[in-house]
Symmetry: C2
Subunit: 241 residues, 2 copies
Amino acid sequence: MDLSTTGTRRDRQRAATVAEIKAAARKLLVEGGASAVGLRAVARELGLSAPALYRYFASHEDLISAVIADLYDELTAVLVALRDEDAEADLGTRLFLVAGGLRDWALAHPAEFGLLFGAPVPNPLADGHELTPNHQAAMRFGAVFKDLVAQVWHQQPFPSPSDESLGPELVAQLQQKSEYFDGMPAGAVYLALNYWTRLYGLICMEVFGQLHWALEDAGAYFQAQLYEIGEALGLDCPLPE
Amino acid sequence: MDLSTTGTRRDRQRAATVAEIKAAARKLLVEGGASAVGLRAVARELGLSAPALYRYFASHEDLISAVIADLYDELTAVLVALRDEDAEADLGTRLFLVAGGLRDWALAHPAEFGLLFGAPVPNPLADGHELTPNHQAAMRFGAVFKDLVAQVWHQQPFPSPSDESLGPELVAQLQQKSEYFDGMPAGAVYLALNYWTRLYGLICMEVFGQLHWALEDAGAYFQAQLYEIGEALGLDCPLPE
DNA sequence: CGTTAACTGTTAACGGTGTTCACCAAAGCG
DNA sequence: CGCTTTGGTGAACACCGTTAACAGTTAACG
């Protein structure tokens, strides 16, 4: 959509100002971390007074919420670009590329990553809660991985644990997600979940410095782990150079 | 050590006040999350004026740093108690107990857990940094798991990946930790690290709500994962009831 | 014992935050 | 043109962490 030709002249100016505000907020975020992006600081950045921002965002929380949504979409775009970069790549290498891309993005943008994935997330399934835009953006992000894993499965089903080995209550929960995972059985959903939890946990630990005590450069460890969890999905690992 | 009979009368009163302050801080932490434990709020809690707290802590950051250290020690005590509860238990079940105990503690004290493990940790190996008391407490905590895994290894070495499969640079880093892991070879250190990263990542995701979209009760999934990562250490899983 | 010093508390104040209010100028529209 | 909406302002409120100046209590020492 071309925002610059949508609506009246004032609407366009308004959208431009909103974009400026979010850009300033993000600049402060990268330069000084999450605590540096304050309402007054953002206003100062573009030569406005603090109350002026309330014409564009209902509150400080709304502002950072908006940049979070933007960051989700931006990260998602980076990952899909990586996924579709090589038209001849098979699904396995695409999954490797996307996973590595997520780690690279996280390491290159630690403050942004912390904003997206470091803060506790409220349970959206609790009744009364509407699905917030941020949550929807997060789902679109997660769908990149989900789609890839589901495609891998449908192209060549990987061996997955039996229902008996997982236990009935876990199987019951996993089967609820079978539809979301394009009909994959419980055991396959379990492996998909396993893939995501290990990838996410690993990246979080590295970005948040929880691995410093053990590894000075977690890159090699990450590659090894990626190979391991890829193997569980029946994938061949691209050789480390 | 019996603090109540150490030093002069004033020293004892001072220690008592320090304990009161930390208790109030923790109460606010539990009730309202990390953002609720402010200097003035703590002072209000015990009927003091805010500047009075500066007689006991150099800054607000020092205060929460002190409660973090206490929380580390408390959590460590809980885990060692769990480890030593059953004198006849073998190392494998002890490891299961401690891992489950960590999850239980995290779920029962989410705010405290977030304070300990949710915030990015500065790299202590960067030159100039002394080992902060918090870091030492964190190391004592981590040693509970490290000791158990090392004992498991020395009792019966589990099959571990070869140096060739891990790659030279990863092996080089792992071997640097061989001494810390009581002489375990690189492959075994890798599995120990694997155990910790997966356990930590899983608990973080559950506590911080990052698993809500997939599982309403992650308990069964946690058990299955615990079994899986225990298997890698050559352990038998206690049957789920 | 009296004197002195250290300790523990106070109030006032500074600069910072997010937020609301009353006001005002300019842009757009009938 | 007049009127309404929009986007800006400065003043103010309540809170925050922190510092300074000051007072009362308590321990220590000659």
